[in-house]
């Protein structure tokens, strides 16, 4: 607490200094005019600098010819604009720092409201120092420098599937809802003015409609800010959020249309103009989306070729995203729609094409920019209010606007949802509708548009600006504060915080396939049909063009899930090992490790990993995993199923890769470029070699294993002492040749530096997979009991997939067949004279020691 007060004091001091600096750098006479000119953060730098130079040059403060060499000189005028910009950014972010220091405050009052309040305080300080509000949120700055990042972030992290599933509803609300809001607000206010409720205000109908159109739009920034703390269920969130994004298309059109109408004047508006207005809606909306789509495709294509410049690869997204925004703005299309669709379109492809590090960079950078911008927006929204010049108070106007905004929002949402529910499979519940209506927050976009009104055409501009500000404050602060209690009171369905298990995901997929099939049988084109058609198109055409070939191969969903699971396991294992001194649980035979995730923020969405904002949480060792040692076999069926799913994936995974190889290696022998597989096979080979070496050294001593076939094999090996190596690898070689397509594969491996034939011991091809074998000690573990370092393994460790990082890729060994890994076919003893080449090759260096005792 003390720290936060210290910060606040620091802020005040900073501001005083800043004002002092700007005053000191200029002639005292020029103060008012220069401060009027220095509407800070107007980064039309040429303009500002020239005005500064102007003030310093024109006024009596001409630069005098120097008389002696100045060692150090005061060059405030030189750096004014960038300095002020940077300083304000710093100040806003420091506000956020102060706010976030107190969590018990932020859990009640949303951060955005607090930022606005800080803005008030800062504005007050400046006002006190200056008597003039020098800093405001200007539309240029807002629309060009602060808003794009937020929207790009929204588009890039948008859950596409959810969005498109609910697209119909979202569009209905965005288009019809916004039009309804605008029309009803404008007309009602005009009616009230006619009725005399506002004193002697005289604003024309068209101006009211213009005002209505700028007030109508739900603001995405505000929605994100308020809803992010209240984790409502997905559908509700996407409805409100999607609407807030898409309604920009309507808002832009309405605003421009009514603006033009106001300029034209009442009498000139005829049917032609109205028709043009309607047409312009379609043009603006679809044109904007198209521009965004084009840029999205451009980015995807670009990332295909950026392998050599991985360092600046992430930058392309930002630049091209911003360009899409500006291009749409230039063509007078909807800029927000453009950048949203750009982000949505490219997310999948750039995540696939770019290097993992670049993907992370993009994600974090985008979040940083978006959050930073949001902070600045809210602070400045607060500051802009403390300005005596703009305040015009008309009780009737303001109160009526507030009332109508709320009421018509409710009416609109309920009516539209009632219509929608008749066509939706899962209707939106009443409670959800309430939250949707209540969540119609207005924000900075409305304010920006209001400030952009032309004062000459609209005399009451200041009144409108004030009203807009008040509505924004009302929605963001009051509705923001009461949103969470309302959600809890109404018991709205919250977002699922626990991760969906693998089996559930598989079942979901199964259901989807079923539905498509039934739709085909019953001969109707439904949702699922469209989706499967799109998927087909996308997989075969778009991915071809937009994704790198290597990325395309990795797109197999099951593989992806497995990869993520392994990574997660590895990370958990490592962090736990670090915490507790590894292997403690291994020594205790009866103990079972229960990896339980503590913090709910660690929702690692496997299939949509790019959605997860908390990827970083997994790296943070302390809060993420808690170890609980149980003395019993784990009870949770879920975990058993997860393990079974793991094993299930093993089989399928390995099989499918084989199948791919089969296809690819028909015409020519492909050297496998998949490092994972290479590594795995290498490890297995090395293990075999090590075994053969150790058994050779130990000579006669049989391993203390349960598996009797290894003993048999040992005895058999004894007679051929020297040729044991050969025998061993010959067995492995044979098992390799058992695989149908593996033979071609093997020969390709001969060219590799090691004898890879040993690696193709795919137990998947072994017909006699006995479940009983699972209980036996895996042969590699059994034989390595020759080493003294081996410890007794817990039951789970024997059965479970070894979870060490180095064993991540060890897919096959867990499934033990009656035939051990190194003597697959005892029948094929006399075979293969290919060992000569093998003997000549020196064996590769032995693997790192941790491998052996790294087993769970």
């Amino acid at each position: 607490m003390a720290a936060s007060w210290g910060f606040t004091l620091f802020l005040c001091v900073l501001l005083m200094v800043c004002r002092g600096l700007s005053l000191a750098g200029e002639d005292p006479d020029q103060t008012l005019s220069s401060s009027g000119q220095v509407k800070a953060l107007n980064p039309e730098i040429d303009n500002a600098l020239s005005s500064n130079h102007g003030t310093t040059g024109e006024g009596g403060h001409a630069v005098e010819p120097i008389t002696t060499l100045p060692i150090v000189s005061w060059k405030w005028h030189h750096v004014t604009t960038p300095y002020l910009v940077a300083l304000w950014i710093l100040v806003s972010w420091l506000c956020k720092l102060v706010i976030e220091a107190n969590h018990h405050v932020t859990s009640v009052i949303p951060e955005s409201a607090l930022l606005i309040c800080f803005g008030f305080i800062l504005g007050g300080m400046i006002w006190a120092a200056d008597k003039v509000q020098t800093f405001r949120l200007t539309p240029t700055v807002f629309f060009f420098y602060l808003l794009p990042q937020v929207i790009l972030d929204a588009g890039y992290h948008m859950p596409n599937k959810l969005f498109f599933t609910n697209l119909g509803g979202i569009l209905v609300h965005a288009v019809i809802g916004t039009c309804w809001n605008a029309a009803s607000l404008g007309l009602s206010l005009w009616g009230c003015q006619m009725g005399g409720a506002m004193g002697d205000l005289d604003i024309g109908l068209l101006q009211y409609l213009l005002f209505g159109s700028l007030m109508a739009a739900v603001d995405p920034v505000a929605v994100i800010a308020v809803f992010e703390q209240v984790h409502v269920n997905d559908v509700l969130f996407i409805m409100v959020f999607g609407e807030s994004l898409l309604n920009d298309g309507v808002t832009v059109v309405l605003f421009n249309v009514f603006d033009a109408f106001v300029s034209l004047g009442g009498p000139k508006i005829d049917a032609a103009e109205i028709i043009k207005g309607i047409v312009s809606f379609f043009v603006v909306a679809f044109g904007g989306s198209l521009v965004g789509l084009v840029f999205g495709l451009l980015i995807s294509l670009l990332t295909r070729c950026t392998k050599n410049i991985q360092i600046i690869e992430p930058g392309f997204i930002f630049v091209l995203g911003y360009l899409s925004y500006l291009t749409a703005e230039m063509l007078s299309l909807s800029a927000i729609l453009s950048i949203v669709f750009c982000g949505m379109c490219c997310q999948k492809y750039i995540n696939a094409n770019m290097d993992e590090n670049s993907v992370q960079t993009v994600r974090y950078a985008m979040k940083a920019f978006a959050n930073g911008s949001e902070t600045i927006i809210f602070v400045f929204l607060g500051i802009s209010a403390i300005d005596k010049v703009i305040w015009v108070w008309n009780t009737g106007f303001i109160l009526l606007t507030l009332l109508f905004v709320l009421v018509y929002r409710f009416i609109g949402v309920f009516f539209l949802t009632w219509i929608l529910n008749r066509y939706r499979l899962v209707p939106l519940e009443f409670v959800d509708q309430v939250i949707m209506s209540y969540g119609g927050l207005r924000g900075a976009v409305a304010y920006g548009l209001a400030v952009m009104l032309d004062e000459n055409k609209i005399k009451e501009k200041n009144l409108m600006v004030c009203t807009t500000l008040i509505v924004v404050y009302f929605t963001v602060i009051l509705q923001g504060i009461t949103m969470k209690p309302l959600v809890m009171w109404l018991k709205v369905k919250r977002a699922a915080v626990t991760e969906v298990s693998l089996l559930e995901k598989l079942t979901n997929k199964m259901f989807n396939h079923t539905l498509v099939a039934i739709e085909d049988i019953s001969g109707q084109i439904g949702h699922n049909y469209m989706r499967s058609k799109w998927k087909y198109f996308e997989e075969n055409w778009m991915s071809w063009i937009l994704m790198k070939p290597s990325a395309r191969k990795k797109q197999d969903q099951v593989f992806d899930v497995f990869h993520q699971l392994n990574l997660k396991d590895a990370m958990e294992y490592v962090t736990e090992g670090e915490r507790r001194g590894s292997l403690e649980f291994v020594r205790n035979e009866n103990s079972i490790i229960d990896f339980k995730k503590k913090s709910e923020s660690e929702s690692f969405d496997i299939n949509n990993a790019n959605m997860s904002n908390d990827h970083g949480a997994i790296r943070d060792p302390i809060p993420s995993v808690s170890l609980e040692m149980h003395e019993q076999i784990m009870k949770a069926v879920r975990e058993a199923e997860a393990i079974n799913a793991h094993h299930l994936l093993d089989q399928h995974l390995y099989k499918s890769r084989k199948q791919h190889r089969h296809r690819f290696s028909r015409s020519h022998f492909d050297i496998n470029r998949d490092e994972k597989e290479v590594q795995e096979i290498f490890q297995r080979t090395m293990r075999n070699r090590l075994k053969s070496f150790t058994s050779a050294k130990m000579g006669v001593k049989p391993p203390k294993t349960i598996v009797k076939h290894t003993q048999k094999e040992q005895q058999q090996k004894m007679p051929n002492g020297k040729s044991m190596d050969k025998a061993k690898t010959s067995y492995s070689g044979d098992e390799g040749s058992e695989g149908d397509s593996a033979s071609g594969y093997d020969q390709s491996y001969m060219r590799a530096t090691y004898r890879a034939g040993a690696g193709i011991e795919n137990p998947a091809f072994m017909p006699d997979l006995d479940p009983m074998d699972l209980l036996q000690i895996p042969p590699w573990l059994g034989e390595s009991e020759l080493d003294s370092s081996m410890v007794a393994l817990s039951h789970r460790a024997q059965v479970d997939l070894p979870r060490t990082p180095s064993n991540l890729r060890r897919l096959a060994p867990l499934r033990i067949s009656t035939r051990s890994t190194d003597s697959f076919t005892l029948e094929n003893i006399p075979d293969t004279q290919q060992m000569d080449s093998d003997q000549l090759q020196p064996p590769p260096p032995p693997p790192r020691p941790p491998r052996d005792d790294g087993y769970v």
Binding site: T507, T514, A517, D520, I521, S522, H527, S532, V637
Partner: protein, 153 residues
């Protein structure tokens, strides 16, 4: 449509099917015309080959299982009743149908949907999958939505 039908659907049949499955009149007639268009042999029943002739089913990974689900134990032909009965599992659940009486559950109740899905897993129909396990796995899946299709009127 009319000329291909070897056997017209009688009103009483429509009524019976309506009561049994809950489909509306227009839905039943529409599905009947689809049934007859699939029925190349024009004998009032569908065989497995008829189903396999649907091109999209071939690329569906679950195509075979679903076709099997239409055919009751051991039989090779399915008549319209059976066809409708299976399709009825996929009708969306309406609120007025959610009754607590387990004896008279309609065909598209949650339990029956689940049974259908269960049978999809259980290819050889020997009840190898334990029902409790399946239900627990499907806990998070919104079965009512996932296994519903909006049949056209």
């Amino acid at each position: 449509m009319g000329s291909r039908a070897s056997r017209l659907l009688r009103e009483e049949e429509i009524e019976e099917i309506k009561k049994e499955t809950g489909f509306s009149h227009s839905q039943i007639t529409r599905l009947y015309s689809r049934f007859t268009s699939l029925d190349k042999g024009e004998n009032g029943t569908l065989s497995r080959e008829d189903f396999q002739r649907i091109p999209e089913l071939a690329i569906n990974p679950l195509g075979d299982r679903i076709i099997n689900a239409f055919f009751p134990e051991g039989e090779d032909q399915v008549n319209f009743r059976g066809f409708m009965r299976t399709l009825a599992h996929f009708r969306p659940i309406e609120d007025n149908e959610k009754n607590k009486n387990p004896a008279t559950e309609p065909l598209n109740s949650r339990t029956n949907k689940l049974l259908f899905a269960f049978r999809l897993y259980d290819l050889d129909r020997d009840d190898k999958i334990s029902r409790d396990e399946l239900l627990q796995v499907l806990e998070k899946v919104d079965v009512e939505q996932k296994m519903s299709i909006r049949f056209l009127h």
